[in-house]
Symmetry: C2
Subunit: 209 residues, 2 copies
């Protein structure tokens, strides 16, 4: 993995990563640097000094904008989630066709994400996995992120007139998480297609194809 800042290394991602965002202010530089390092090396493993060095900012600047490392982590997670969902739902909005097509397109977009050389898994899954079992702050942030996704899925499921909207959304969520983890572990993007096949299978079953 490349650790040079994107000013010098134009590794263009498709836009799912906040870390690849163009930073304007010093605060932005801190956020994108922290995002890159947290997501690639882990939260605990990344020290403040490493972030500062990458961002090219002074320590006082960081502690002027964030009162602690914990607050920086929370801000980075929030930004990563927002950027990712913007990209993800944007791609899905481009998809033409009925609700069923749009729902299944989820896994095509997923595969595109997996195939990116900079893919490091889902920051929320990684954060929940790393932090304490009792760390509710991080778990709640992850829950909020997934709630956004579930809301989208439910909207499509309603349009599709599936009998149990919640269960269909939950099923898709399991496939999402499973594909992400499998792809992260094996670096094989085709798990998205495996998940897609099961999603199709599920829709056929509940809609009585």
């Amino acid at each position: 993995m490349d650790d040079s800042p994107q000013e010098f290394c134009h590794q263009q991602t498709s836009g799912w990563s906040f870390a690849a965002t163009e930073p304007k202010t010093a605060r932005d530089r801190i956020m994108t640097a922290a995002s890159h390092l947290f997501c690639n090396h882990g939260f605990a493993a990344t020290g403040i000094d490493t972030i500062l060095s990458r961002a090219g900012t002074a320590k006082a600047t960081l502690y002027h904008h964030f009162k602690s490392k914990e607050e920086l982590i929370a801000a980075v997670l929030e930004a990563e989630g927002t950027t990712w969902r913007g990209w993800f739902f944007g791609r899905l909005a481009e998809t033409q066709g009925p609700a069923r097509t749009r729902m299944l397109a989820v896994f095509d977009v997923l595969e595109e994400w997996f195939a990116d050389p900079g893919f490091y898994g889902c920051p929320f899954i990684n954060a929940v996995a790393e932090f304490d079992t009792g760390n509710d702050a991080v778990r709640k942030a992850a829950e909020k992120h997934k709630e956004h996704i579930l809301t989208w899925l439910k909207a499509q499921a309603i349009e599709l007139k599936v009998p149990d909207v919640t269960e269909t959304a939950r099923s898709f969520a399991v496939l999402l998480d499973g594909a992400i983890v499998a792809a992260q572990h094996t670096r094989d993007p085709s798990f998205a297609r495996t998940a897609r096949n099961m999603a199709e299978c599920h829709l056929d079953a509940v809609l009585g194809a």
Copy 2:
């Protein structure tokens, strides 16, 4: 979560956790203490001194048995994997009935695991999530663990005479990972049943029910 050693707190798990194993030697005490702390608080977040304090051993003893923290982590992961698979496959072996029943029982056993108050997710998923993107040692350990599971799944799939054994095993693996992550995030064990329904759906589809 309870941090008192199991000598004083008889929180009986079903046997999936190596950390709940009865330690005989000082080495055992170090391993079970480390396992509990690593899995509940994270690998980087757990210091050597914390492990020693919980194990009630001296520092020299730890470094006599393990040449570094990294080696201890590797040993703990290996032990966790072995114990978990022993429990998991043991439960499945108790299942009576045809291969299809046995395959679907995977998700019943999973739900039992999720429902345990001490459930902390899959140590391998958590380790891969926490460590560096480029940490191949941990990723390979996780791969080995999953290979064992895939082998079992493939054996059942062969007995079931599914058309594509590998794809069915991969599908189950995605459902496994997805259910684990969903249950870990929400603390809702019923995601095992959501996964089970999709597994049934997949088998029906490939076997032409």
